[in-house]
Subunit: 217 residues, 2 copies
């Protein structure tokens, strides 16, 4: 592979990190908009989606261009196929942050169902999983990637606890049903963001250790 | 590209179709298990996931192997990158069908919330979108791909109508909240299956027309 192609691969990696930064900010802002009732912050998340989508398309083109260069090293091909997947996972996370921002706007003028504690914790965890999975990718660090898989179990625990609590609220008062459902969907969006970070971590494990951790059953 | 590589590309396409067939059956069976209270059918969907996951890994390896062959034709690279994405979309759909099957099992011995009409319609539509998007891929047919995008609007309409109806049930009777939520999540799983079929259709449009229909805002 030529020095130019090598430099383009570093460029691609840098772009994925930059996109990851935008996605982390979008996750953070979407839940802040919800918790602090900040319409302006919610709208910023919705606007940022355009930039994230554009980056996805540019990264795709760049990757396809790099695939066209002959590769003798199987590791390079694994890197490029991982890049295609990571790029797509990041774009999906951006979409999910937008969904949360839209629900934040829908709830903005409604009375609160309950103080938000578990949802911001879940968001913080999901956000750090995104950062850590990309860090693992850049450093080719299997240990960091495994840490993301462990965090995902905690996210699932929080999801279950949020579900139990919201069901109790809905059963106790029919008036809160629609609002509680918005919060329930926010928690599911955060769960899916964490799942995408887990996908990235699994791609990293395949990239660095050749181990396919996607389970067979 | 050699005749051997050309034959492997046809093999890859055939494998994706075969995987699509398993996924369509899983979607169909998961909702049949729900609507007809067939525990055995639900368990069959859960068991089929192993085969779908294994196919994903095999297809990934095959695609990476094909990418290693030098490609002078940009169309071949676009085909192979589309194959990576489609493979992943199909595997996710298989996971979502399993989620539906698990909810079918959870509801198996509970009294019904309501007769199921919109959910089976949504499932039928999602299932046909999977078939049609793969048909569009194989035939490189942009018109078929566009048909999938149109169907996705109908899926979203059904999702909204299911939501409104289930909220009414939950407000009227606290006892149905948990069961109605299971149905609500089933409808969201079907919506996500349809989204993945839409992703495939978008990949096909990019492949055959070079148009990127993923919107920027």
């Amino acid at each position: 592979m030529s020095a130019a192609a090598d430099s383009s691969m570093r460029d691609l990696q840098h772009r994925l990190l930059e996109m990851g930064g935008l996605v982390e900010a979008a996750i953070h802002d979407s839940v802040q908009a919800l918790a602090r009732r900040e319409a302006e912050t919610a709208r910023r998340v919705i606007e940022a989606e355009t930039a994230i989508n554009r980056m996805e398309m540019e990264n795709d083109s760049l990757t396809i261009g790099l695939l066209a260069v002959p590769h003798e090293d199987a590791g390079e091909l694994r890197f490029l196929t991982a890049a295609i997947k990571i790029n797509h996972d990041l774009e999906r996370m951006g979409d999910l942050a937008v969904s949360i921002a839209r629900r934040a706007l829908a709830l903005m003028d409604e009375p609160p169902v309950k103080p938000l504690i578990d949802i911001p914790r879940m968001a913080q965890l999901a956000e750090s999983m995104v950062g850590q999975s990309l860090d693992a990718f850049v450093k080719r660090d299997g240990g960091l990637a495994r840490g993301v898989l462990v965090d995902d179990d905690e996210v699932d625990r929080l999801r279950d606890s949020i579900y139990e609590e919201l069901v109790r609220f809905m059963k106790a008062d029919a008036e809160v049903v629609a609002r509680a459902l918005n919060l329930l969907f926010v928690s599911r969006n955060l769960e899916r963001i964490a799942d995408h970070a887990t996908n990235i971590a699994e791609d990293v494990l395949f990239l660095v250790e050749g181990i396919d951790v996607r389970c067979g059953g």
